[in-house]
């Protein structure tokens, strides 16, 4: 198995994990005309969910973009994204995986990869950026597993030189009702 040297020192542990209890199961239909990632985040935040594991069961885009990875030539990172590919719909979403968490400023962020088939029958897939994937007729269906006492938070990762989701345990609700992020 080939391994690659990252720009930063290898961090430990190599596998980070925390347990969580389920915060409930949700079915979300993001409607036509709405950006998928922003619409998904708004819908989940609207019912009090700030962190969730999401399975996209399928749907349709009116228009979308995706990014794919490629080797990074300047040595700052091992891999980076290439130029976006734009698909004009109807584009059928076959499946996708996503996470809702919070970024370094505390704002909600969705990380999503998906596979689609375009109107000519070609299969594509990659990283879906926010704001550029407009849901088409019939909507997109997402099944979200909400996380009750843990969340995904973006932190800068010196090893890879990327801001990356990290699992974070949450202390039980404190006396004043606020939640505190455990170190």
């Amino acid at each position: 198995m080939r391994t690659v040297k990252q720009p930063g020192k290898p961090a430990r542990p190599r596998v980070l994990s925390v347990t969580a209890t389920s915060g409930g199961e949700l079915r979300v239909v993001v409607p036509e005309g709405v950006d998928l990632l922003n619409g998904l985040a708004r819908a989940l935040l609207g019912v009090g969910v700030t962190s969730a594991a999401v399975f996209l069961t399928g749907g349709r885009f009116a228009r979308m973009q995706y990014l794919t990875g490629q080797p990074c030539r300047d040595g700052k990172r091992v891999a980076t994204y290439g130029a976006p590919t734009t698909l004009v719909g109807p584009v059928t979403l076959l499946s996708g995986n996503a996470f809702l968490g919070i970024d370094e400023t505390g704002k909600p962020i969705v990380h999503c990869h998906a596979v689609v088939v375009d109107r000519d029958g070609s299969v594509h897939g990659g990283h879906l950026p926010p704001g550029v994937c407009s849901v088409g007729r019939g909507g997109v269906v997402a099944l979200a597993a909400a996380l009750a006492d843990a969340m995904l938070t973006v932190r800068y990762d010196a090893e890879t030189n990327y801001p990356i989701f990290h699992p974070t345990s949450l202390d039980p609700i404190s006396l004043n009702g606020a939640r505190k992020v455990a170190a």
Partner: protein
Amino acid sequence: MSARGKPAAQRKPAAAPKPAPMPKGGKPRARKAAAPKPAVALAAPAVPYAMAEDRPGTLATLVERGRYGRMVLARVRPNIDLVAGVERICASHGIAYAVVRSAVGSLVDAALGYGEGESMTLITVEGPGIEILTLNGEVRPDEAGKPVATLRGTISDSDASVFGGEFVRGGNPICITLEIVLQEWLPELQSLPTRG
């Protein structure tokens, strides 16, 4: 990088890509390290499945009643094998059975198998920066109680070509990160008879 729509290497291995050295570029390579031992002893499957009313000569339909348990949020860092990493997550929490609820990440290179047995075909795709588009699968214990992951899904290379299959153990090193949520499955009854 591979040409669009064409894997970097495609061949029919002599045997199915079972947990074994990872063939890459046609040359098998020895696995460097064994998977870590579970931190907590795990229970082996309690009883074999028993079925009713199956037609002679057909395999039994398996029905297992259970419920979901703990969820595990995890990040796997670079150069850890995808399959081994998932098993390591489960072992560290004493989880014998689990399902993948969602996963997003990237690979240095990818090795996917499709077909079966002698006709199993192995696709290897060179990265780095291969995107994991979808990842599905479950973890079940082997006879010794060690969690074993079976993972299938789709990937895309730098040319946006999409490939699918079963992720081969030892052939899918994480590139930047793997974010994954697993949920524990707690079997309650492993021998439900089926009708019809």
